[in-house]
Symmetry: C2
Subunit: 330 residues, 2 copies
DNA sequence: CTAATATATGGAATCGATATCATGTCAACA
DNA sequence: TGTTGACATGATATCGATTCCATATATTAG
């Protein structure tokens, strides 16, 4: 493997001069510059990124941790995060799937401490904040699509409270008085926001809050199939279900129809995310549209601002707007 | 930031001794070892990964390039690739989306040359092989879910020819004599294998090959919607369509039903991948099941074999088996 | 009791680049 | 003609670890 020293030796110059050429710096005579470039080409030499990064104390890598990639929401988020902003600025993006595992999240943060990555975007929060906070001194950490009451860092998401409120209010206006709610993990702050929006809508219209209408572990199509089964075994069945997830909505609808239910007449269903799946089911799915790609792009830009320009981290909550998309399932 | 030198100074030992402790090497007295560990804890010191990797001339990073992540097939492939095998061996996985862009693929290979990554898995092939081959001397490169006639490297995929043959033969046995075929990109070798399987089945049963029954750019649900429109404008309409993609199949079926077609009576449709979407559409979708997760896991294991054990690259074609899953759309 | 060996420790080189500083040359200007 | 400043170049230190080699001491074997 050729190194800068070999190039220097072959050209009878010091490595300083070669380094100047490599970095397009002035103060190298035209002849030397050309000769050096020629030899570099001949040997097919490329400076070692390993050495450069070591010298610069930067690896030009950022990490994003998400629960799992095989869910369209996170896939799109990643697509937004990786597209152009990062690559153009020569940053690489490491994707970590936590699978809801605390240890993996800490492993990512350890990489920050070891200086193997330059910054972290957490799209879920598995550990207590107290465990994460100490890593703030190692490098910038941002929260995306997840919320925390007091973390002194930028938090980028969308208005989950408002989205839920809008969806549930719409169901109420349609005449529903028994509205179910799905969630994936109860400990997520973002989920709590959603739940708060749901509860606010109920109380604004004097509707009851019923424990049996809460359905957990709602994440994918299979969960939707299961949740419909749970739903019909409830004493007082809801007439509408706010699933918080298009995949879950699709599963619920599928199973409902297989069981002879009419959607939306017997059961109205609302999804979340406005994924393509909403348009291929029968009936098509009413849902909440959220600007996922923009979310991914923005959060990377924000992180790079802190890495590149050294802007100090501070608490800053950004909530992108959402939109109710009405289709046939309600 | 604490370094090994500070630890050494504070403990009145040489950095060699500290290094020995860090790497669990013998020949350090118990007292010194304990004292050093104590100071390390006090200062919350972690060795710089940057420096270590530089020294080791390895970055413990592998890269996977895929066309795009927001397609369930690639999302699952990535899930398989990242899960455990890589992380357990302390390797990180960089994901690059080429978006079918030659330059991005070359950028990934350049990272190999710069030693910023230790190996590459290509899940699509955008550039001519002649442009990729020179990078083989920089580090191991594998092909996954993509095929090449002569590349002297391991190629891991599944039997696309056989899968297509099975699917088309099944349609023929069901009485279809006009069978359409969808493809996403014509230059992909893997696509050619599929097409060959399709053609073989046709010729084995003396069925004609009709140019109009080929539909291109078939990748996602929207493409499916469009392709149905194209299909009904063909003079002699196919009665069955082998879409090569579950999303496309879902789109075609949706549009067919909206247009008053009966599936499978008026048009039979077969997907590919056996994604969850197959089970929530009406009708459910007949498809080809492929072991995606295993594919991802295997290819990473294979790559690590070459990186860690220095096993030489050589041509080696592995084809995992597929399975026809029959549902309502045929 | 000496020779051989195992244990303990540190000095210095090294990995491949960049940055700082010193030095030398040449032209412009007062 | 001496001073100043732009240009050209290289020697050397440095980043933070690991590794090789030398040396000193303790332990065991013969």
């Amino acid at each position: 493997m050729a190194t800068i020293n070999e190039i220097a030796r072959l050209c009878n110059v010091s490595r300083t001069t070669v380094s100047r050429v490599l970095n397009n710096q002035p103060y190298v005579s035209k002849e030397k510059r050309e000769q050096i470039l020629h030899v570099i080409n001949q040997l097919d030499y490329t400076p070692s990124g390993l050495a450069r990064n070591f010298r610069a104390k930067k690896n030009y890598i950022i990490a994003i941790s998400i629960p799992r990639i095989d869910h369209p929401f996170f896939a799109q988020l990643i697509k937004g995060a990786v597209s152009f902003n990062a690559l153009e600025k020569n940053y690489k993006v490491l994707i970590f799937q936590t699978f809801y595992n605390k240890k993996i999240e800490l492993k990512v943060l350890d990489l920050l401490k070891k200086k193997e990555i330059d910054g972290v975007i957490l799209c879920s929060l598995e550990n207590k904040w107290g465990l994460i906070e100490p890593y703030l001194k190692e490098g910038p950490i941002l929260l995306c699509n997840e919320y925390h009451d007091s973390a002194p860092i930028p938090i980028i998401g969308y208005d989950e409270f408002d989205a839920s409120y809008k969806a549930v209010k719409y169901l109420i206006k349609k005449g529903h008085r028994k509205i179910g709610f799905c969630y994936d993990l109860s400990y997520s702050q973002a989920q709590k926001e959603r739940k708060a929006g749901y509860l606010k809508a109920l109380s604004d219209y004097d509707l009851p809050y019923v424990d049996e209408w809460f359905f957990g572990k709602a994440f994918n199509i299979e969960d939707g199939l299961r949740i419909f089964e749970e739903l019909i075994n409830v004493k007082e069945k809801p007439t509408a279900l706010y699933t918080g997830n298009d995949q879950v909505a699709a599963g619920v609808i599928k199973k409902a129809i297989l069981s002879g239910y009419k959607v939306p007449d017997d059961l109205a269903v609302i999804g979340y995310d406005n994924q393509l799946i909403c348009e291929v089911t029968t009936p098509t799915i009413t849902t909440i549209e959220i600007p996922i790609i923009e979310l991914g792009q923005q959060v990377v830009l924000e992180l790079l601002k802190h890495i590149e320009e050294g802007v100090e981290l501070k608490r800053e909550v950004m909530k992108l707007p959402t939109k109710l998309i009405i289709r046939e399932s309600t």
